[in-house]
């Protein structure tokens, strides 16, 4: 295994809504991941991925998104809670890949206007993560009352969230590193 290669853990911003407040959370996650030695990241804004809507799944793969998923060792999905589920367009984008995700770590960040920090959308996403072949971690980040956590410019007002992000990322990086070892070294057929 080439241990010199840094881990790549991109952040997916899971809504295209203009005025979306989840964007500030996604930007914060990118900044926090970028502080970790040996880990690279960037923001994948699903608003920049235009997929057809007359088909679904791998038939409509976007090569740029697929390449980034293929290179990823772990994923952070930042999703707002829309009627207790995830935005339909996020699911459409996630469904466009499969082999690219297998045995890779994923952590979910829920964002909500309400007081439950996207708990319901996170729980809703878990079965989909499993079917996509992703491995979920046991930490989440819950951003409740997002308008109180960030100001209008997107600056963080409530720094209490940083400790939770730190625990979440420690676990995600450990899982990403461990699964990369397994993907590159441990055959399934032994």
């Amino acid at each position: 295994m080439n241990d010199q290669r840094p881990l790549y853990v991109p952040v997916i911003l899971g809504t295209t809504r203009s005025g979306r407040m989840s964007a500030a959370t996604a930007t914060l996650m990118v900044a926090e991941i970028a502080k970790r030695p040996g880990v690279t990241t960037d923001l994948i804004d699903i608003a920049t991925i235009s997929l057809p809507v007359d088909d679904a799944g791998e038939a409509i793969k976007d090569s740029r998104f697929a390449d980034r998923m293929s290179s990823a060792d772990g994923l952070v999905i930042v999703t707002p809670e829309y009627n207790h589920g995830c935005p339909g367009l996020l699911k459409h984008v996630l469904d466009s890949c499969l082999k690219e995700y297998i045995h890779k770590a994923v952590g979910i960040v829920g964002v909500s206007a309400g007081g439950f920090g996207g708990t319901r959308v996170i729980e809703n996403l878990l079965p989909t993560m499993r079917e996509l072949g992703l491995v979920t971690i046991f930490w989440d980040v819950n951003v409740s009352k997002v308008h109180e956590v960030f100001d209008e410019s997107g600056a963080l007002k409530d720094t209490a969230i940083l400790k939770r992000i730190d625990k979440f990322l420690r676990e995600l990086v450990w899982m990403s590193r461990t699964l990369r070892y397994g993907r590159e070294r441990i055959p399934v057929d032994v």
Binding site: M1, N2, R5, G57, E58, A59, S70, S71, L98, K99, E100, I102, H103, G133, R180, G182, R183, E184, R185, I186, P187, V188, D189
Partner: protein, 67 residues
């Protein structure tokens, strides 16, 4: 259905298209059929298509094949 396996049932590793290295077969993912052609290739014993996933230990490239 193509079986890409050694006589002992072990998976034959794919070769990395990026660097030529022997890859590690780390997963056999059950995949639901989408097209009519897919449905005809379903492995009845497991009620799914099986996609082998291989990763290159040197450059990290991911490749797969349906078996």
């Amino acid at each position: 259905m193509t079986k890409v396996q050694n006589g002992d049932g072990r998976i034959v590793p794919m070769t990395c298209a990026g660097c030529g290295m022997k890859m590690n077969p780390h997963a056999e993912k059950p995949v639901d059929p989408v097209t009519r052609a897919d449905t005809e290739r379903v492995d009845a014993a497991v009620s799914a298509l099986i996609e082998e996933i291989h990763q290159c230990p040197d450059c990290g490239n991911v490749q797969s094949r349906r078996v």
